[in-house]
Amino acid sequence: MKSKAELVDELNHLMAEETEAFLRYFQLRYRLRGTDRLAAEGFFDKAMQETLDHATEIAGKIRALGQTPKLEIKLSLGGGPVKLQEALAESLEFEQQALDAYKEFLPHVAGDTMLEDFIRKQIATETEHVQEITMLLE
């Protein structure tokens, strides 16, 4: 089990992953071009909402641990118009990383019921996201 300071540090990293994912979905949504753009926008709207919800939940966990969230992201998002296939492939990259990050964090919260349940739930959700995007890319 990690110390409280280490747990908060890891939670801050996870919050950064989710916040950054939100920003990436936001930007990809408006880069989308092509015939399936209108249908795909709903997917990106949902993904934006979910990543923001996850970041909010993590911030709540940090606060419950008696700390304040520390958000550190270095990001400059550019790029021209993008087709759905490319946008999804990019999304799969950061969703997979979020899933891996939660999986690696899980052993470190063993014994803390609140955090363990939360991380397990996140793993389940992120696994679904990765599977969904993978299927869309097939």
């Binding site: 950064a16 992953e17 950054e20 992201i73 990001l75 950061f94 990383q97 979020a98 891996d100």
Partner: protein
């Protein structure tokens, strides 16, 4: 080409150069392989960012990945890293040996140009530093 456009046309961005350097450094202990999480820690950015940046580096043939999402420099990537390292070393030596810039500041400034200066300039700089060192009296070399 105008000089400022040449800066923009540089094949390797500063960020890309640092990703390659980090992979090289982290891979030294593991047969060249590095984990995305370790690269993210090394560069103090998110794993998501590393992963997206690696896509570009992979497309350009600088890195290869395996089924466990481990990453390694390709021969082309390693060549880039070695070139960047030698450029940094030459420029840093010039700053420290010739201009008497502190080690710390020279490290920062050489980092800023390490992927931008040409091989020709690097070679001339290295030659100049050597000549300069030998032109100094023995007690201050």
């Amino acid at each position: 080409m105008e000089t400022w456009k040449e800066f923009e046309a540089n094949e390797l961005t500063h960020s890309a150069a640092h990703h390659l350097l980090a992979i090289h450094e982290l891979g030294l202990e593991y047969g060249g392989w590095a984990r995305v999480s370790d690269i993210a820690k090394e560069l103090a950015i998110t794993r998501g960012s590393v992963s997206i940046n690696l896509r570009t580096l992979k497309k350009r043939g600088y890195v290869v990945t395996d089924e466990h999402r481990m990453v390694k420099l390709s021969a082309k990537g390693l060549e880039i890293v070695q070139a960047v390292q030698s450029k940094k070393a030459a420029f840093k030596a010039f700053l420290v040996e010739v201009l008497s810039v502190s080690e710390h500041q020279a490290d920062i400034d050489s980092c800023k140009v390490e992927h931008l200066i040409s091989r020709e300039t690097t070679e001339r700089l290295a030659e100049f530093v050597e000549q300069f060192k030998h032109s100094q009296p023995a007690h201050i070399r």
